[in-house]
Symmetry: C2
Subunit: 356 residues, 2 copies
């Protein structure tokens, strides 16, 4: 029905699923609050400034910027959601402040080719920060369009890893209404190949507070630096429990202006299991069944994590986790673990300090 | 890796999503409890009996039947989950009781062609009971394989409808972190075409306790009787609130044996909004924005619901809801609504009773 399509903004969309994804994001409280606090709570950073919103989606971040006093916002959205964004912007009466461009940011040009923007805002994060995210596009935009002293929202991102228990993939299947379904659990662990999976990890199932895999300064990092990350470490279990996998999460921080009184000093969007749940949840790499073990407090856990860009699909990342022999790996000093050499070394170092 | 595939049951599956659907069902407490209570709690009905499990999935209902003392269980599953079901059955040591057949029940034959089973168990229910369910296949199995006095688990099913508020599709979008996003809400209401959607309706958003659309006796109902259902009614709002849509749900009951002491008298699997949430949630037909209204207590709501089999896809059902003019429709007598004729009629009937 032609007439209906004209009055129905939703009629633009090929995929209802796209809208559901945006519903999920818009109803993600920690995500919304972090961006709202970082932008609307920082009027002094935005007032009179020009902003580029990379992957604007429904336009909500652009509207935050307009509410915070931005003089001009360029909202760039590649999908046909751009048309809905225009309607949302009009609904909020910011059509004179916000210009929506329906194109990839790689194809976007500012009206004045010489112009540079003061601020780039973007919610580009994917699973475990980078997987299916769009940081590459944000960096292209930064290098082309941001003033040398311009601001990035967010401006840092950190990836963490911790050993954990994964009862939803192991213990739960020991008895389902009195039926043993361990082979179902085995199949669930990504068809027995122990692939990473997006899951919610309860804080009590973390066996460690989290090791920093990488910290990114988003003003400086290059696309090439995103090709591969490696972490090789001996961690010390901080809690007893079943070691059944590794949990990966991230957090992002935002620039903070002078309005310290109105907002927390550090604005952090955290997907840590101890923080309120977000739609990113956590990413879990389950261990093969034979590698699971009961972990005593202060047991060492030696591993190597490789996170590499997928060769075929640039926006995807492959995770490879290898358990190592803690006896053979070098421990950081002093090490809190229970291995004899570390206990002796720690005692020695303490003695030296006392003696010193 | 050839060797890995042999030891990994999950390696059979084309679709990881299939496993996730079964995970959802196996962790659906009300579903699991209803079937567990109905089967394992009814040993006197199952001991020594032969059972056919239609659409056995992971095999858990077949195992319940074996636990309840069934002599022989025929588990029929068309997908390659049948192979995982065999492993689950072996894990529970019931391989001598349960025979798994990887085929459609329409192609299934009992080992002895003359044989009939005592009981059919199946979890065939789809959204709003019938949509994408497999009751047709269960009825084929019943007509071919069930003894005349055999039992069906479940044995009745009822579909309900109630007017309701739908804040997640209307009010929520009035302000998202201070941004008006009503046009997003409009798009979400199934791309503006107000199509039915699977949603969770909070009990407090129901404006009526539920009108019975249809009640099915699963021992008797025929496939043809499932082709279309109609309900034309004037309901009386039982609560004030915003009329924004209609909510549909179902419940199923199971036969009850002599072991009354061990289980509740009526075993019901209910997807009523007032019952604990299930993976079926509820199905909501949002109203067009212009048809939404504030409902006073005892306001009449006149509607017609048509539920008809989709012409192209037999297992799908189309819902069509039409709001009618309560002034013009016939009300049931006595009617509790606020319309003058009903108030007068009710007063008259009450007077007649007193006088009589």
């Amino acid at each position: 029905m032609e007439s209906e399509q004209i009055t129905n903004p939703g009629a633009y969309f090929d995929s209802y699923e796209d809208l559901k994804v945006h519903e999920l994001m818009l109803t993600d409280g920690p995500r919304q609050n972090a961006y709202h606090n970082a932008i609307v709570g920082n009027r002094d950073l935005f007032a009179g400034k020009t902003v580029l919103d990379v992957g604007a989606g429904t336009g909500i971040l652009s509207i935050f910027c307009a509410q915070a006093g931005a003089r001009k916002v360029y909202a760039v959205e590649a999908s046909n959601l751009a048309r809905l964004a225009r309607e949302v912007i009009k609904e909020n009466n910011f059509q004179d402040v916000i210009d929506v461009s329906e194109c990839r940011v790689e194809d976007f040009r500012l009206p004045n080719e010489e112009e540079r923007v003061d601020i780039i805002v973007s919610e580009w994060m994917g699973f475990f920060l980078l997987h299916e995210g769009m940081l590459d596009s944000v960096l292209v935009a930064r290098d082309r369009f941001l003033k040398p002293n311009g601001l990035m929202f967010p401006d840092t991102a950190t990836i963490y890893l911790a050993p954990c228990s994964v009862p939803s993939r192991f213990d739960r299947w020991n008895s389902v209404s009195g039926v043993s379904m361990q082979c179902f659990g085995r199949a669930l662990r990504h068809q027995g190949s122990d692939k990473p999976e997006v899951l919610t990890v309860a804080p009590e199932h973390l066996l460690h507070e989290g090791h920093v895999v990488t910290w990114l300064d988003l003003k400086e990092v290059t696309t090439e630096e995103l090709d591969a990350f490696e972490a090789k470490e001996v961690l010390v279990g901080q809690r007893t429990g079943k070691l059944q996998g590794f949990c990966i999460w991230f957090d992002c921080t935002f620039p903070v202006g002078e309005q310290g009184g109105r907002i927390p000093n550090d604005i952090v969007l955290s997907t840590n299991p101890v923080a309120p749940e977000t739609h990113w949840k956590q990413t879990v790499i389950p261990l093969p069944e034979g590698a699971c073990e009961d972990l005593e407090q202060r047991d060492p856990i030696a591993f190597e994590l490789k996170m590499t860009r997928n060769k075929d699909t640039n926006r995807r990342y492959d995770l490879q986790l290898t358990l190592l022999d803690a006896e053979k790996e070098e421990h950081s000093l002093p090490c809190e673990c229970q291995m004899t050499k570390c206990i002796l070394m720690k005692a020695h170092l303490e003695k030296m300090q006392v003696d010193g």
